[in-house]
Symmetry: C2
Subunit: 408 residues, 2 copies
C-alpha cells in the first residue's frame, strides 16, 4: 500500500472523490467541477486508468452538436474498505467497494463490559469471515475505519476515556486491530462518521449540517461546506455533555443537566424501571448491555399506543430538541440529522419533537426554517462513514506525475 498520492488534497484524490459521489462523469465535466485544465484532467485520468482505479464506460448524452463524450467510472473492485462501529451494546460491520457501494454487512452485540483484547478478537473473527464469505481478498482491502464514542486520540488510535471500562483508556486499539487484521486501521468518532455516511447517502440537502448520534451515548458532528468540523483534537461537538435549561441530573462528565444524563437511552430505561408495572408489561431487563434492546421495547410500545412509554420518550426527545437548538445556534446551521441505533424505531417521534423545538427557539428560525431529517441508514450510518473515511483519505497506488522543476 504505497503512500503515493491519491489522498484528498491531490488532484487524483479529488477526481476519485467526485467520481465516487457522482457515479459517472465525462472528462469535460471533471474539468468543469474541479476548475483544472483539460490537459491536467487528461493526464490524471490516464494515470488512474493505468492504475486500474477508473475505467471508461459507454458514452454520455450528446450536448449541442458535439460528439457524445465517453463517461468515466470508478472500478468498484479496485479496492474495498471495512467500517466497524463499536458501542457498548451494538457492533455494526460493513464492507464497501471502491465506488462506495455496500457489499457486505453484519450486526452483532456490542463490547459490553469486556476487555478491549476480547472485543478486538471478536471483531477480527467477524471481519475475516465477512471478507471471506464475500470473496474479497485481504490484499484488496485498503483499510478499516474503527468508529467509537469519544474522546479519542485519533493519531495514536486510542480512547481517552475510561468508558465503557478502565481497560479501554489508552489501549492501542487501532495498532492491535491493524496487526491482527493485516490492514491499516483509522480511528473515527461515531457521530462524525455518521455525518460522512449520511452526506454520502445523499439524505441531507445541504453541505453544512449538524448530526446528533444516539446509541448508548449521545454524540454530535458538524459538517461545514462538506468538511467535518474537527476543533483542536478532533473531539468536538460533544453535544451529549452540555448542560441544558432546567437540567440538574449529575453526569459522569462532571457537569449537571447534560443531555447524556437527562435524555440518553440509559436514562430513559432507568425511568421505565422505576415504573414497576411499565417495566413488567414491556419486559424491560435493565442490564447495562440491554440498554438499546430495552429502549427498543419502549419505542415499539410507543408505536402501538402505550402512553407511559410515549411520555418517557417524549421527555427525552424534548431534551434532544434543546440540544439541537444549542447545536444550531452555536454552529450556525439550519439542518439537523438524527442517526444511530436508538432512532431505529423511535426516530419519527424524535424528529417531530426536535423540529418543534427548533421552530420555537433556533436563533435564525425567521431567516430559514430549520430542517430535521432522519438518517437514511439510521443504524449503519456510522459504520458506513468509517469505511468511506478510509476510501477518501487512504492513499492508493497512483504513479506520481513527473516532477516539474522550479514550479514552486
Amino acid at each position: 500500500m504505497a503512500a503515493t498520492g491519491a489522498g484528498r488534497a491531490t488532484t487524483a484524490g479529488r477526481m476519485l472523490d467526485l467520481l465516487r459521489t457522482q457515479g459517472t462523469l465525462s472528462r469535460v465535466e471533471l474539468a468543469e467541477r474541479t476548475g483544472l485544465t483539460p490537459a491536467t484532467i487528461t493526464n490524471t485520468v490516464r494515470r488512474l486508468i493505468d492504475a486500474g482505479l477508473v475505467h471508461e464506460i459507454g458514452r454520455g448524452h450528446q450536448r449541442g452538436r458535439g460528439q457524445p463524450r465517453r463517461l468515466l467510472e470508478l472500478d468498484p473492485a479496485a479496492w474495498h474498505a471495512v467500517g466497524i462501529q463499536v458501542d457498548r451494546t451494538t457492533t455494526t460491520i460493513v464492507v464497501l467497494d471502491f465506488a462506495g457501494t455496500r457489499v457486505a454487512g453484519a450486526s452483532l452485540r456490542g463490547s459490553g463490559g469486556e476487555r478491549p483484547e476480547t472485543t478486538i478478537a471478536a471483531l477480527v473473527e467477524h471481519v475475516t469471515d465477512l471478507l471471506r464469505h464475500s470473496g474479497i481478498a485481504p490484499e484488496r482491502v485498503l483499510g478499516a475505519g474503527l468508529v467509537t464514542h469519544g474522546p479519542q486520540d485519533r493519531e495514536r488510535g486510542m480512547l481517552l476515556t475510561a468508558q465503557p471500562d478502565p481497560a479501554w483508556l489508552e489501549f492501542p486499539l487501532t495498532r492491535t486491530l491493524a496487526e491482527r487484521l493485516g490492514i491499516p486501521v483509522l480511528l473515527e468518532n461515531d457521530a462524525t462518521a455518521a455525518a460522512f455516511g449520511e452526506q454520502w447517502a445523499g439524505t441531507v440537502p445541504a453541505d453544512t449540517f449538524g448530526l446528533i448520534y444516539m446509541a448508548s451515548g449521545i454524540g454530535g458532528g458538524v459538517i461545514v461546506d462538506g468538511e467535518s468540523y474537527r476543533g483542536r483534537t478532533s473531539n468536538a461537538v460533544e453535544i451529549g455533555h452540555i448542560a441544558l435549561g432546567g437540567g440538574r441530573a449529575p453526569c459522569l462528565c462532571g457537569n449537571n443537566g447534560c443531555a447524556q444524563a437527562e435524555a440518553s437511552p440509559g436514562t430513559v430505561v432507568a425511568q421505565a424501571l422505576a415504573d414497576a408495572s411499565l417495566a413488567a408489561r414491556l419486559g424491560i431487563r435493565g442490564g447495562p448491555e440491554d440498554t438499546l434492546a430495552d429502549f427498543e421495547r419502549l419505542a415499539r410500545a410507543w408505536r402501538t399506543g402505550d402512553r407511559a412509554a410515549a411520555a418517557l420518550l417524549e421527555r427525552s426527545a424534548r431534551w434532544i430538541g434543546q440540544a439541537a437548538v444549542t447545536l444550531v445556534n452555536l454552529f450556525d446551521l439550519d439542518t439537523v440529522v438524527l442517526a444511530g441505533p436508538a432512532f431505529a424505531t423511535a426516530g419519527p417521534l424524535y424528529r417531530r419533537q426536535v423540529a418543534a423545538e427548533l421552530e420555537q427557539r433556533a436563533l435564525t428560525r425567521a431567516l430559514s426554517r430549520p430542517g430535521v431529517h432522519l438518517a437514511a441508514n439510521v443504524e449503519t450510518a456510522a459504520a458506513i462513514g468509517g469505511a468511506l473515511h478510509v476510501l477518501r483519505t487512504m492513499p492508493v497506488d497512483v504513479p506520481r506525475p513527473p516532477a516539474v522543476i522550479g514550479s514552486g
Copy 2:
C-alpha cells in the same frame, strides 16, 4: 482602490500578513515560512517594494558565515484602516496603520435607541475628525470595519435583527456608511472581530481558541488554526443564546435560560435595581443606555469590597462559566478569552469563575488544563479586530505578475 491581488489567499497577501505579524523578516525567512521558492519570494518582494507597501531596513543578524540579510518591513504609512465597534451603550473607533499599529482612537456613547441614520451621521463626523486630527488623507484609508452584534448579513452589510430598534433591521448599514465616508466598509461580528484583535495582540498562546464577548449583549467567536469559524451564514457561536443548566428566565430569542437572559449586564443591573438599598448606595440609574455604566458601578463596588455587588456579579460569572463549558465541549477548545467593555473592571472576577467552572466541567480537562485569559485590549479588541479585518482582506494595489500560459 484597484482589486488587484493582495487578498489573503494570494502570495502577496500571505507575505503582507506574515510581515504584519512578525514585524520584520528576511527573504530567506519568508521563503521558510511560506514554503515558496526563493524565486517567487524575490519577485513578489520586488512588486511589493515597487508598490510602496514594503521597504528594506538595515540588516539582520549574521547566521553562520553567510552575509547578513536585509530585513523587510511593511511601510506603516502605505495605508490605514478604521475599526468601528457600535453597541447600544458604547462606540469605539480606532485607526490602524498598514503595520497594524494603533495611531488614533476614540470612545463615545453608543447607538442608544436612535435610528441608524442618526448613528451613522455621528460615526461619519467622528471618523472624519479622527482622520483629520491624525493627518491621514482619506485616499490612504483602505476601508473601515464596522463591528456590531449579530445576526448579520455580512454580504449585504445589514443587521438581521430588530435590536436595538426595528429601524435597524435590514437597514443598509455598510452601503450608507461607505457612501458618506467615501471608503469601502465591511461588516463584522463583534465577538469574531475581538478574537481577531486578540490573536493579533498576541495575548492568546494558541491558534485555536474561543472568545466570549460581553458588552450590553453576550456573543462568542471561535478561531480554529488561525481562521474564524463562520458556519453557514457567519452567524455562529451565539453563546449568549443557548439554554444553560438550571436556567429558566425567558429570553428575547424565544429560548429560556439563555446566558443573555440570566447573566448579561442588563440582567445584573435589573437585579441590582431590585435591591433598593444597593441601587441607591451605588447610584444605579437603570435606563437602557446606562446599562454598561451601571454595570461598571457594580464592578467598582465589588472591587472595594461590596458584598451585595459581588454576589450579583459572581452569579453572572458562574453562568458565563457554564457558557464557556458548552463552548469548550462543543468546539473542542482548551483556551477561552474574555473580551468586551463589560470586563473592563469586573474581568478578574469573571476570569476566576470561568476558570473554576472549566476545571470542574470541561470534558477534556484531564487531557489539558483549560486556560482562561482576559483580553489585552478588553474594551477595544473588537474595534481593532474590525480594522485588522480590513487590512487582511481588502485588496491593495499590487501589480499582477505576468500571466503564465498553461500553468492551470
